[in-house]
Subunit: 135 residues, 2 copies
Amino acid sequence: MVFNLGVLGALASDRFAGRVEALGIKPKHAALLAALDDGSAASQQELATRLGVVPSLIVALADQLQELGAVERVRDPEDRRRQMLTLTAEGRRLLARCAETAEAVDADLTDGLTPAQRTALARHLRTLGERQLPH
Amino acid sequence: MVFNLGVLGALASDRFAGRVEALGIKPKHAALLAALDDGSAASQQELATRLGVVPSLIVALADQLQELGAVERVRDPEDRRRQMLTLTAEGRRLLARCAETAEAVDADLTDGLTPAQRTALARHLRTLGERQLPH
DNA sequence: CTGAATCATTCGAGCTGTGAACGATATGGA
DNA sequence: TCCATATCGTTCACAGCTCGAATGATTCAG
């Protein structure tokens, strides 16, 4: 079961990566956009802990998203060491397209399953995620 | 759902990797041992295609497993270019411990689920795997 | 017998993520 | 006020992983 879960997860991630590549980004960028979407503005340090990655990685991701016009960097007037990241309108558009991509991959993945099987699988994965993942 | 599947798969793989590290190997080694177990002896080339990796990777994996005494390399008398890999008794022991490890990770992952939920999840993953994975 | 193909192996290259330094700023205590 | 210490963002060099091309040995076809 671990192996099944492992390879299926890798398969799903690869397919998503392959599709968002057409948007000029990688899955990590999408994760950053999603993290910015709920909670709005946030310092890069906070985003690093929220995503569970090292701060230097946020720098690279934010650089590239900034070039795409998806995020803006603004110095926090309260603490001028902090760079506050915010989603732009373009960033929200990009995030929406990421969501569409995810749904397309979902449909692709569950192709051939009955609607009942599909929802049952989604429910099981959700409960497993709630038990295993920090939230 | 893609994201849930992706992160859960990565989580499962990481946990398995962390545990088999105590056996001195990595998940890829376990995959190679498992591939050798059904089908017995096989050339490295064949194993490469069977596992979907490049032949040069098999070389490194076989080197390390040979050092552990888990596999043996024997030139095929029919075609002296081929190196036939075979499991040793030690290799079978190692594979058995990998299986135990996988079960432990399974138990860990499904901790808190009812037996019914557990089997339902396993069944769903299996059907999804049969539909999506080449076999 | 010779040229092309196949197998295992080695080696170099690209990509990713990490950890250590650094400069700028902030904070707390003498 | 001043100084030591901590924090934030950034850069950079480095290790780990996998792939692809080149090599040598061997086999096969004509």
